[in-house]
C-alpha cells in the first residue's frame, strides 16, 4: 500500500513555541489514525501541519507524495480539514457555501446537494445562512463539504464534538466509507470510546511528540476476522 503520510523528526513552531517537537509518523493510504492526548499536546498542530497550513521548521515530511516544505500548496488541494470552526461563510446558506468551495476546487457543484442531504441539512435549515445555525448544524455542513470534496486525506479535529447521537454515528460511517474508498483519515479526539473503534492505529501525543502508538479497533476487528 502506498504511503500517505511520512514524517521524520517534524518540528513546527507557533511564534517561537515548538508545538510539534520531533514527530515521526508513517501512515499508509486507506488507513485511519486516531490521535489522543491532553489539551496542548499538539494534536491540532499535527493536523495543521498535515494540511500544509503550518510550516515545517525542521525534519522532513511527505503527504500524498508531495514534499511538505516545497509543495505545501499541492498538499492543501488534496486534503480536507474539519476543525472546531468549520471556516465557512456565515452570511451564505449551506448550499451556497458548498457550491463556492466545489467551484473553487474545480469540482462539480451538483455534488453539494446530496452531500448536505446525507448530513441531514435539508429543508428550512438548508435555506438558513450558516451564521444562524447551531454549532452542531454548522459542523454537519462542514462534514457535508468533506463528503462532497472527497479529499484523499481527511483531517478531523474532534469530529464528534457538538454533534448529536445520530450524527456521531454518521461520522463513524463516513470515516469507514472514506477509508474503504482509499482515503486516509487522521482524527483527533478526546472521546476514545467513540474514536478508537474506527481506527487502525491510535497515537497518543504528549509535549508535541507521539509518545505511544497502538492498534485501533478497526485493525483488531479485521485481524480477528
Amino acid at each position: 500500500m502506498a504511503s500517505a503520510i511520512h514524517l521524520r523528526s517534524a518540528v513546527a513552531l507557533t511564534g517561537r513555541f515548538p508545538v510539534l517537537a520531533g514527530v515521526d509518523l508513517d501512515l499508509d493510504e486507506g488507513s485511519v489514525l486516531v490521535v489522543l492526548g491532553a489539551n496542548g499536546a499538539g494534536k491540532t498542530s499535527l493536523l495543521r501541519l498535515l494540511a500544509g497550513l503550518l510550516a515545517l521548521q525542521s525534519g522532513t515530511g511527505e503527504i500524498l507524495g508531495c514534499d511538505l516544505s516545497s509543495h505545501s500548496r499541492h498538499v492543501r488541494r488534496r486534503v480536507g480539514l474539519l476543525g472546531h470552526d468549520v471556516g465557512l461563510y456565515d452570511e451564505l446558506r449551506p448550499l451556497e457555501n458548498l457550491t463556492f468551495a466545489l467551484r473553487a476546487g474545480r469540482l462539480d457543484p451538483a455534488l453539494a446537494a446530496p452531500a448536505l442531504e446525507r448530513t441531514g441539512i435539508t429543508g428550512r435549515v438548508a435555506e438558513t445562512p450558516l451564521g444562524q445555525l447551531s454549532a452542531g448544524q454548522r459542523r454537519r455542513v462542514g462534514l457535508a463539504l468533506l463528503i462532497a470534496r472527497r479529499p484523499r486525506l481527511w483531517l478531523l479535529d474532534e469530529p464528534h464534538a457538538s454533534l448529536d447521537a445520530p450524527t456521531r454515528e454518521l461520522v463513524g460511517e463516513l470515516v469507514e466509507e472514506a477509508a474503504r474508498a482509499g482515503a486516509t483519515v487522521v482524527a483527533t479526539s478526546h472521546e476514545p470510546e467513540l474514536s478508537v473503534p474506527m481506527a487502525d492505529l491510535v497515537a497518543t501525543m504528549a509535549g508535541g511528540m507521539i509518545a505511544r502508538m497502538d492498534l485501533g479497533g478497526r485493525q483488531v476487528f479485521e485481524g480477528g476476522d
Binding site: 486534503v79 476543525g83 461563510y89 473553487a104
Partner: protein, 220 residues
C-alpha cells in the same frame, strides 16, 4: 486566475448583498462626513464649492477604509482564511476578486458622494468624462492598495487599527491626484489629464504588486 477572481468577487458581492454593511453603514458614514464638513465651513456657497474636491476625496478615503475592513473580515477568522487556502484558489485570483468586489462598492459610494457634492456643495461639473475616469481609476487604486495592505495587517483584532495607519499614507497620491482631477472636472483648471494619468499609474502599480505579493503575504 480570472476564473477564481470572478468566483471570489461573486462571493464577496453576494455576502455584501445579504449583510448590506456597505449600504447601511459605509454609505451613511460617508454622507454624514460630507454633511459635517459643510457645518465646519458654514453657509458660504463659494467656500463650499472650493472645498468640495478635498472633502469629497477625504470622505471617500475614510469610506474606502471601512469598506476594506468589511471586505477583509469575510475571511477574518483564522479558520476561514485556512479553509479558503485549502480550496486551492489562485492567490492572485483571490486578490483580483476581492479588489473587483471592493471597486464595485466604491463606485456606488462615489456616485452617492458626487451627488452629495452637487447638492450640498453647489458643485457643477463641466467635464463628466474626467470625473468618471478619475473616480474609476481611484477606486481601483484604493481597492488594490487597501486589500494588499489589509492582508499584511493580519487578523481582525489588529487590522481594525493597523489598516488605516498603513493605508492612509500610501494612498496620499490618490487624494492629491483625485482632488486635482476633480478641480479640473469642475472646470477650474485644465490639467486634469495629467492627474488622471497619476491615478492610472497608481492603480496599475498596486494591482500588479497585489497580484505578485498577495499569495506570499497570505503565507506569512
Amino acid at each position: 486566475m480570472l476564473r477564481d477572481a470572478l468566483l471570489v468577487a461573486g462571493r464577496d458581492l453576494r455576502i455584501e448583498a445579504r449583510s448590506k454593511v456597505a449600504l447601511w453603514q459605509v454609505v451613511p458614514f460617508s454622507v454624514l462626513a460630507m454633511i459635517l464638513f459643510t457645518f465646519a465651513l458654514g453657509p458660504n456657497p463659494a467656500a463650499l464649492t472650493v472645498s468640495a474636491p478635498g472633502f469629497f476625496w477625504i470622505a471617500l478615503l475614510f469610506a474606502s477604509i471601512l469598506a476594506t475592513q468589511r471586505s477583509l473580515s469575510i475571511e477574518g477568522s483564522q479558520a476561514t482564511r485556512e479553509s479558503t487556502r485549502l480550496l486551492g484558489l489562485d492567490p492572485a485570483g483571490v486578490f483580483l476578486g476581492k479588489v473587483g468586489a471592493l471597486v464595485a462598492e466604491l463606485v456606488v459610494i462615489e456616485t452617492i458622494l458626487v451627488g452629495g457634492t452637487v447638492l450640498l456643495y453647489h458643485v457643477a461639473f463641466r467635464n463628466w468624462l474626467l470625473l468618471v475616469a478619475s473616480c474609476a481609476l481611484a477606486a481601483i487604486g484604493l481597492a488594490s492598495a487597501s486589500v494588499l495592505y489589509g492582508s499584511l495587517a493580519g487578523g481582525d483584532r489588529v487590522r481594525s487599527t493597523l489598516l488605516p495607519i498603513l493605508v492612509l499614507p500610501v494612498v496620499a497620491p490618490v487624494l492629491i491626484a483625485g482632488s486635482r482631477a476633480f478641480v479640473a472636472a469642475i472646470g477650474s483648471s485644465g490639467d486634469g489629464g495629467r492627474w488622471v494619468a497619476v491615478l492610472a499609474v497608481f492603480a496599475i502599480v498596486y494591482s500588479v504588486l497585489g497580484i505578485v505579493l498577495y499569495g506570499p503575504m497570505e503565507e506569512i
